[in-house]
Symmetry: C2
């Protein structure tokens, strides 16, 4: 049998992640049964769990890929672009992620896997910090505190969008945030 | 039979709300069965549902009472005091409220009752706005937009606390918010 190339494996992995995200968004975490995951990916459970240890691992990989994409938008296009992305996000998918908050709190195996993923992400933080420094942020406050503030605003907005409350004027929201975090109230955090 | 006084009824209503909150926090929304609600309140289901139409109504009344208390802290003691309250909140209770976000999205009866409660709250907003004006907020941005920004930060922090992420330095977080919303970066939003 020919050896499956790394490239092919990575493409297949991405396809599973995309299909799984649609499936979780549509049916919720519990509702996204293995049978439905098979249907949405067009693959057998054997093939799916060849790439991901179990359903918890698959879900966390989807969530982590999404978080990385959002972070990349923030770092590459600025915080305003991230806010825009959040208000246009798939609210079904946002809701499943919020549902997972409860799961991380109450299910030890879910928690363990989430923490391990967090540790791996922490390794890329120095790089993120270096990128953030290019955004004209104030320097009299630790960069970490600025990043937490921005993340708090982004998550609060996501919660608001998920629950279906009216979307705020993003220009105004962005200006309020910017005044707090940027050097001289200008820049592009 | 003697007529039950209004005062007695109000006290009893408060006792049910307090006991129900503990019950929802401990067991989650589903897990807080009518039997457990009876046990925690020390009352029969007949007595409980004499005060609240059904379990949905009871939960939403608990959540609404909590939201009113948080708003009162914000208006009377300032935004810094609200942030402090959030980081010391019962995370089990925060988690159940976040769980309810999904329920509001997917269960029509839950949604209908939540929206009706929202409408009743909206009536008290002019009063809230008048109180907020005393907090030294900037006047070049609509008060509503400032209130939404502050609510977004509060909810983002609550989400962070619920998931168990490290609590940020509240002095710094408050200063960043304050710079955005206050007249001359001073005041007490």
């Amino acid at each position: 049998m020919p050896k499956v190339s790394e490239e092919h494996k990575e493409r297949r992995r991405q396809e599973i992640l995309d299909a799984a995200r649609r499936c979780f968004a549509r049916h919720g975490y519990e509702g996204a049964t293995v049978a439905r995951l098979e249907e949405e990916t067009g693959l057998s459970r054997g093939a799916i769990f060849n790439y991901f240890e179990n359903k918890e691992a698959l879900f966390l990989a989807v969530a982590s890929t999404y978080a990385e994409r959002m972070t990349a938008i923030w770092l590459e296009q600025g915080f305003r672009a991230l806010l825009e992305e959040i208000v246009h996000a798939d609210t079904d998918w946002l809701a499943v992620q919020i549902e997972a908050v409860g799961r991380i709190r109450t299910e030890p195996e879910f928690r363990r896997q989430a923490e391990e993923l967090d540790r791996r992400h922490a390794e890329s933080r120095p790089d993120r910090a270096a990128r953030l420094r290019e955004h004209g942020l104030r320097e009299d406050v630790p960069l970490d505190a600025l990043a937490i503030f921005l993340a708090v605003v982004a998550n609060g907005l996501a919660l608001r969008v998920t629950v279906g409350d009216p979307v705020p004027d993003l220009d105004v929201l962005h200006e309020l945030v910017l005044t707090g975090v940027s050097r001289e109230g200008r820049g592009n955090p």
